[in-house]
């Protein structure tokens, strides 16, 4: 779910960058220095998983996006994390692009932040992996769908002629969102059993910020 270079006219590209900027700044502000290694390593895992893991669907396969998971684990820090991974994708594999880095960061990062506000607290209170699965699935699916709507919205802003592409992409993406939800749910139920403290990082951010 990327807007490619060349599609976005300058006003849209600049507006996207301006929209993403406060979020990135907020993420950097709450990120404490001693959390940088943890945040960086988790973002490396998220980056890797979205590249190497292919969930089979019929004869084809889909890559997970893991926006919801990023939000649950990193909170606001997912904004700078997505900025970096999108830059790396443009650099190493030519997904997305350099002029659309701002829009794409917004499209991926803000739903993650939303998932953090909606589900991180519930995940920290979740006892038992069943609950964790449902909250994780909800986070993964909702973040994916919101990302899709942001993507479709910015595509239409880039040119009304692109509305048809966004419309055609809708039904398959509903399906992918469900798969993303199941996948995120399984990851969360695993993490709550094995290492529940992993969801505490963004919360300790907030406590640190209040001090």
């Amino acid at each position: 779910m990327h807007i490619s270079d060349g599609v976005a006219p300058i006003p849209i590209a600049v507006a996207g960058a301006l929209a993403a900027l406060p979020g990135i700044a907020a993420g950097l502000k709450v990120l404490k220095e001693e959390q940088i290694p943890a945040a960086a390593l988790m973002s490396a895992v998220l980056f890797l998983s979205t590249l190497v893991i292919r969930l089979p669907v019929g004869p084809s396969s889909v890559h997970p996006l893991l926006g919801g998971l990023a939000g649950l684990l990193l909170g606001w820090v997912s904004m700078p994390v997505f900025l970096i991974s999108l830059f790396l994708q443009a650099l190493l594999f030519q997904f997305g692009g350099i002029t659309t880095l701002g829009i794409n960061t917004f499209v991926m990062g803000m739903p993650a932040v939303m998932a953090y506000y909606l589900f991180n607290g519930r995940m920290n209170k979740a006892r038992g992996s069943g609950r964790a699965f449902y909250w994780g699935a909800a986070a993964g699916m909702s973040a994916y769908l919101v990302s899709f709507f942001f993507w479709a919205g910015s595509l239409i802003l880039c040119g009304k002629q692109l509305a048809a592409i966004a419309a055609i992409a809708f039904i398959p993406n509903l399906f992918v969102a469900a798969i993303e939800g199941i996948f995120t749910g399984f990851i969360c139920s695993f993490l709550v059993r094995v290492y529940p403290a992993i969801f505490r990082m963004p919360v300790s951010d907030r406590e640190g910020d209040g001090r």
Binding site: S4, I36, P80, I198
Partner: protein, 255 residues
């Protein structure tokens, strides 16, 4: 996959100071994205081709990247002219393809390819760690640079862990198929990687504290802005200024 795959080589473009390379790429992308002038777009594409030829980028790698970009633009060519209002260029089974839609798709294709080529030739020829170093000099916030460098540093390490875990799964005859079992296995794999990465990050933090880390990477070797860099910056500035003025005035429009 090695995450330090950049286009290694030893051309004069590789030896340029990364700071002007980054800035020129950024300025170039903005000018090209701004322009609707077909002449400017063709000139931009020519500049991209020239730069990647000068950087001797391996053609197989470049072809792969361009293919990825142009799969997307191919979709544009099918979809957009059929829905774009305007003069009909031709009709296929009662679907009217408009001239304006075709021209719009052409211009997006030119833009995308031009930006990809320049990006590959200038930023892609700098190894990512040097890029992090250059970001530091370009006053990118310190935490963002550190996050970038740490992510990059451990990508290969974590990829290695992924390969190990995957091999263990395959040894137990794991075969991906469209079943919940597959999704669960992949999820546990990701979860395991996350847990291990967090534990590793604690060890890294302790090791860094042991060595007196105070939240700052000290840059030992500074970049040197040489005559070649000055020539490159001046030449790019002139080309970019010319492209920008054509883009704004509409001079040199081809169609």
């Amino acid at each position: 996959m090695s995450c330090t795959t950049f286009f290694s080589g030893d051309t004069f473009i590789h030896r340029l100071d990364p700071r002007p390379k980054i800035l020129v790429t950024l300025a170039f992308s903005l000018v090209v994205a701004l322009s609707t002038n077909s002449g400017v777009l063709c000139a931009g594409l020519a500049a991209g081709i020239a730069l990647s030829a000068m950087a001797r980028i391996p053609s197989a790698a470049l072809r792969k990247r361009l293919l990825r970009v142009n799969i997307f633009t191919a979709v544009l060519f099918i979809m957009v002219p059929a829905t774009f209002p305007g003069k009909t260029a031709f009709t296929v089974i009662s679907v009217q393809f408009s001239m304006e839609g075709i021209l719009w798709s052409v211009s997006v294709t030119l833009k995308a390819n031009a930006i990809v080529l320049v990006f590959a030739a200038l930023v892609g020829t700098t190894d990512p760690f040097t890029l992090g170093h250059a970001f530091h000099h370009l006053r990118v916030p310190g935490k963002l640079t550190q996050l970038f460098l740490f992510t990059l540093r451990y990508l290969d390490v974590l990829h290695h862990e992924y390969v190990t875990l995957m091999r263990a799964m395959k040894a137990r005859s794991f075969k991906p198929s469209m079943r919940l079992h597959t999704y669960r296995s992949f999820a546990w794999l990701t979860g395991m990687l996350l847990v291990r990465s967090l534990e590793r990050s604690e060890r890294i933090l302790e090791a860094m504290k042991c060595r007196g880390f105070r939240g700052e990477f000290h840059v030992v070797r500074h970049f040197r802005f040489s005559t070649a860099d000055a020539v490159f910056s001046a030449a790019s500035f002139i080309v970019l200024a010319a492209l920008l003025s054509c883009a704004l005035t509409g001079a040199g429009r081809l169609w």
